[in-house]
């Protein structure tokens, strides 16, 4: 029973991080119709900044200060996103999709090198916060308490995002722009401003994913690409452009991965791809996507 409970918590932990990454990816696509391949390295950027802040600048500080510094990576990724959208992406909106893919793929590579240039090739750790949180007992096993914080952040982020999109003025304008950009513009909506805000929010989510994950695992080169691939599995299952889809997709991937680890550890990733392939065959637009 306790083993099952631990698997369930692990699935939720994984789903929380995946939701933050895939939710941001989906939000950006939903509003701007851009598949942002650089998204994975915005997640990595968030992880590096938080690891640098917690494990480097403020190493040895009290846990409360480290907790305050935890979202530093999210804000840094948001600022980076706010700078990238108008300068590198906007000129390509009227070009064919392959140009946008090329630009965002190039950006993925540039960001990877930027991380290497700033922080070097070695992993960056912020495990102090993880350790300070200690462990709790589930049955006879010890389980890291910090993981519950990650799950909590994922849940709070999902609720806040839902409220932001469906209960605020900005959310109404955002949804209108995503459904008919031309009409929104003709009604007085500054579409360029909405785009930069949506992109910034999407990058914030990716950065937050990296920031909360880094105390439990080091920031390493290549983590962005791995996360991007998993985020794509989530959005393929949930439907690209749908936040509900990102949430359900992340939960499915979290559970399937954990089940894969428990019963078929050798083919853990293959099980995920199989799940995505089945959804693609049955519902090509994903569970919540529109054909």
């Amino acid at each position: 029973m306790e083993v099952l409970l631990i698997h369930l918590v692990n699935a939720l932990l994984y789903a929380s991080v995946l939701f933050l990454i895939a939710g941001g990816l989906s939000l950006i696509y939903g509003v701007m119709r851009i598949v942002n391949l650089a998204h994975g390295n915005l997640y990595a950027f968030g992880a590096y900044v938080t690891a640098w802040a917690i494990g480097g600048v403020a190493a040895g500080a009290p846990s409360s200060l480290l907790l305050v510094l935890l979202p530093a990576g999210a804000f840094a990724a948001a600022v980076l996103g706010a700078a990238l959208e108008p300068t590198l992406l906007r000129p390509f909106y009227k070009r064919a999709e392959e140009y946008q893919l090329l630009v965002t793929f190039g950006l993925l590579m540039i960001l990877e090198d930027l991380l290497r240039f700033i922080w070097g090739p070695y992993p960056l750790s912020a495990s102090e916060l993880f350790e300070n949180f200690g462990s709790l007992t589930i049955g006879d096993s010890l389980y890291p308490t910090y993981n519950f914080l990650v799950i909590g952040v994922g849940i709070v982020a999902a609720v806040f995002l839902w409220a932001f999109i469906y209960k605020t003025r900005f959310g109404v304008v955002l949804r209108a722009t995503s459904q008919n950009m031309r009409m929104a513009s003709a009604l007085g909506v500054n579409v360029n401003r909405v785009y930069v805000q949506a992109f910034t929010l999407g990058c914030f989510m990716a950065g937050l994913g990296g920031a909360i994950v880094v105390p439990g695992q080091s920031a390493v080169l290549g983590m962005g690409v791995d996360a991007l691939v998993l985020a794509f599995i989530v959005v393929v299952i949930g439907g690209l452009g749908s936040l509900e889809g990102a949430l359900v997709g992340a939960l499915i991937v979290g559970v399937v991965r954990e089940a894969g680890i428990a019963w078929f550890p050798e083919i853990e990733l293959a099980v995920l791809y199989l799940a995505a392939a089945i959804v693609l065959l049955v519902r090509p637009a994903g569970l919540f996507g529109r054909p």
Binding site: R169, R175, A176, Q179, S185, A186, L187
Partner: protein, 243 residues
Amino acid sequence: MPGMMLELERIDTFRGPAQILRGVSLAVQHGEAVCLVGRNGAGKTTTIDSIMGLLPVRAGKVAFQGRDITRLPAHQRALLGIGYAPEDAGIFPDLTVEENFQITSWLARPGGAGGAPAPAGNGYERIFSIFPEVREFLTRRGLHLSGGQKKMVAISRAIALSPSVLLLDEPFEGLAPVVVTRFIEAVKAIKALGISVLIAESNLVNATRVADRLYAIDRGEIIFRGQPNEVFQNEDVMKTIRG
């Protein structure tokens, strides 16, 4: 020209490589209802899109209340007071009718139409005075509206912006005759609020029922301008418009 709300001076507009408008000039005065009549593909929608800034004007000038707006982006034109209801209504399908209105009412200018006071409260009373039916489907999503309801919501949404001039692209198209009469009454009510109206219309009879002045367009050129009753006496124009 005094009292001028909207003025096009010899504008040329292209869609891709094809030139659609050739030296189109027209004017809408304060409080006036003007119809732009023509067959399908004559250039009516392109004219409306050029005024709204949805298509770039290659040559010529678009002026609104004496100000050159030729190079302004669409959203700035809307905020200046140009309301727009497109042919397909352009309702946001996943938003409720009220959310569709909220977008424009939040962005509405404090001065309101023609310098009139801004509408009180949420501004919907003015909408309900023109289309009381809208009250009944405020909570319905755009996706679930009928064609006539969509057109009603599109016009109401544009009014919620407190515009000085309203551009209506084929507002009567696809409506039953009795509903057309209802919409014509609505346009007259909008005009009575002090809002100028420019209507792109392919049905000449409908146009003459609502217009103070009339322009006819064919192959991207204005071929007639004058009073609605004069058009019937011009055989060439009648032949062109009716095919």
